[in-house]
């Protein structure tokens, strides 16, 4: 029983970070209507940045996060401006090829620059245990969860209450009309891509202290984010939050009770079952799948 609770807690803690990654992907998908297959690589880049800032300059992840996040926001804006925007009106297939190509490019860039070995950001504070009622978790994981969930909630608030959020939601719903009433559509695409990238990056920094990074680390996050988004519904932010927590739990339970090597298989199994049973996502709310070639 204690093992079950312990595993579940560990899974949910991790799931909070998955939710943050997935919410970023979902924001980019919902607004810019691009399925970003390089989303996991954005997490990977932030993990490397965390590692190097810690190794080279002894900058704690909880400080470097304030440097990495704005830089990655800027990186997302540049990606949108110079890579995604020029092919905004291309066919969905072309868009998929471009982001897939980008993901391969970033993986290989990481391989050339940093080599193939696993790098761990060993930050002692993050590895200390914290226990409540017999359930134990490291500070690193607890912090990651709390920050991630706080950011997901902050994003909900932004989307619901601020003018920027309202514009983004209007764009997600009907970009032509948004343009017609005078909203600078391209500018807000930059904002959406910047925000989505920043969320992936923050997740990367938060995960840094307890997961090692290697050039292909991003692929796992891309897969996770996709499963979460499909589970929670394309364009559905609240669905992403719940889906992220669920997937974190599934992955961790499978690792503990079946076999650590089968974690990915469990994620895939969930993906396939959802696609077979309810392709519109458990919580529904899919936004114009045809536009991105999903129908």
């Amino acid at each position: 029983m204690n093992l079950l609770v312990q595993t579940l807690v560990a899974g949910l803690l991790l799931g909070g970070v998955y939710a943050l990654i997935a919410v970023g992907l979902n924001l980019i998908f919902g607004v810019v209507k691009i399925i970003n297959f390089a989303h996991g690589e954005l997490v990977m880049i932030a993990m490397y940045a965390t590692f190097w800032m810690w190794t080279a300059w002894s900058l704690s992840p909880y400080i470097s996060i304030f440097i990495i996040t704005p830089l990655m926001f800027g990186f997302g804006v540049l990606l949108q401006r110079f890579i995604l925007q020029p092919m905004q009106n291309s066919s969905p297939t072309i868009k998929i090829f471009v982001t897939l190509g980008l993901s391969v490019l970033l993986q290989n860039l990481a391989l050339v620059l940093f080599g193939g070995q696993y790098r761990s950001t060993t930050f002692p504070w993050a590895e200390q245990n914290f226990s409540v009622l017999g359930v134990t978790a490291t500070y690193g994981r607890i912090t990651a969860f709390l920050v991630a969930i706080a950011l997901v909630i902050a994003l909900f608030y932004l989307m619901k209450k601020t003018l920027t959020g309202k514009v983004l939601r209007a764009l997600a719903e009907d970009r032509e009309t948004a343009g017609l009433i005078g909203i600078p559509v391209k500018k807000y695409y930059l904002v959406a891509m910047g925000l989505g990238t920043a969320m992936a990056a923050i997740a990367g920094v938060l995960i840094g202290p307890f997961q090692s990074v290697f050039p292909l680390a991003g692929a796992h996050f891309t897969l996770l984010a996709f499963v979460v988004v499909v589970l929670g519904g394309l364009g559905n932010m609240a669905g992403s939050l719940i889906g992220g927590l669920f997937l974190g739990a599934v992955e961790t339970l499978a690792g503990t009770y079946i076999d650590p090597a089968l974690q990915q298989v469990a994620v895939f199994a969930v993906f396939i079952i959802v696609l077979l049973v309810r392709p519109q996502g458990i919580f529904g709310g899919s936004a114009r799948n045809a536009e991105v070639g999903l129908k």
Binding site: L163, D174, L180, G182
Partner: protein, 234 residues
């Protein structure tokens, strides 16, 4: 004020407009008429800049805006209420209206503009927090027009305002259009219901198959043979 000269436009390879010209010079209501698929909505799209003109020109207060962005045109006061209302259905009534005021938000008078729209449409105030997609057709049209008014239009183009609305609501909307025009706005209405439209307009244009066929005062149009035969049925 608004002058459209010999524009043509395409959807991909398909030509939708061949040679459309029209002018809106003074405040008041002007009607753009024509049968289904004549190119009325396409004309408005070219005027508001979401569809490029392949040839011809659009000028606004003497300024050539043929290649200006939709945003620039809204900022100049050229505002388009699209066919089918095109509200953001998952956003509240108030958020839809606020987004209509996006371009003018910097003057910090959005709040008072919103109040004016609510005075004009008290029903919308009651429903301000409801999702726009859940309103009735008439209420949705009010939000659409209200969203347009939030942009402080000098020229307000309303496409098929009365489509699908109950006769009583149609009457209300037409008198509303007259009210807006009395406040000094040029209202360009696109209508299939020729009689209703000409009754409130001082000028009218008829386009058919992407070409302007007739232009004149409402009186002239009512009396012209083409209009009497093809549109008024007598």
């Amino acid at each position: 004020m608004l002058q459209v000269k010999n524009i043509s436009a395409y959807y991909g390879d398909a030509q939708a407009l061949e040679n459309v010209s029209l002018a809106v010079s003074e405040s008041g209501v002007v009607a753009l008429l024509g049968p289904n698929a004549a190119g009325k909505s396409t004309t408005l799209r070219v005027i508001s800049g979401i569809l490029p003109a392949a040839s011809g020109s659009v000028t606004f207060n003497g300024e050539d805006i043929t290649t200006a962005s939709p945003q620039e045109r809204v900022e100049l006061g050229l505002v388009h209420v699209p066919e089918g209302r095109k509200l953001f259905g998952t956003l509240s009534v108030e958020d839809n209206l606020l987004l209509g005021g996006y371009c003018g938000r910097k003057d910090r008078k959005t709040g008072s503009r919103l109040e004016r729209v609510y005075e004009r449409f008290p029903k919308l105030k009651e429903r301000r927090n409801q999702d726009a997609g859940l309103l009735s057709g008439g209420e949705q049209q009010m939000v659409a027009v209200g969203r347009g008014l939030m942009a402080q239009p000098k020229v307000l183009m309303i496409d098929e305002m009365s489509l699908g609305l109950a006769p009583l609501i149609v009457k209300q909307m037409f008198s509303l259009v007259q009210e807006i025009a009395l406040e000094g706005v040029c209202v360009l209405i696109v209508e299939q219901h020729v009689q209703n439209a000409l009754a409130v307009s001082h000028h009218g244009f008829i386009i058919e198959s992407g070409v302007t066929r007739v232009a004149g005062t409402a009186q002239e149009l009512m009396e012209s043979a083409l209009v009497r035969e093809s549109y008024l049925g007598h």
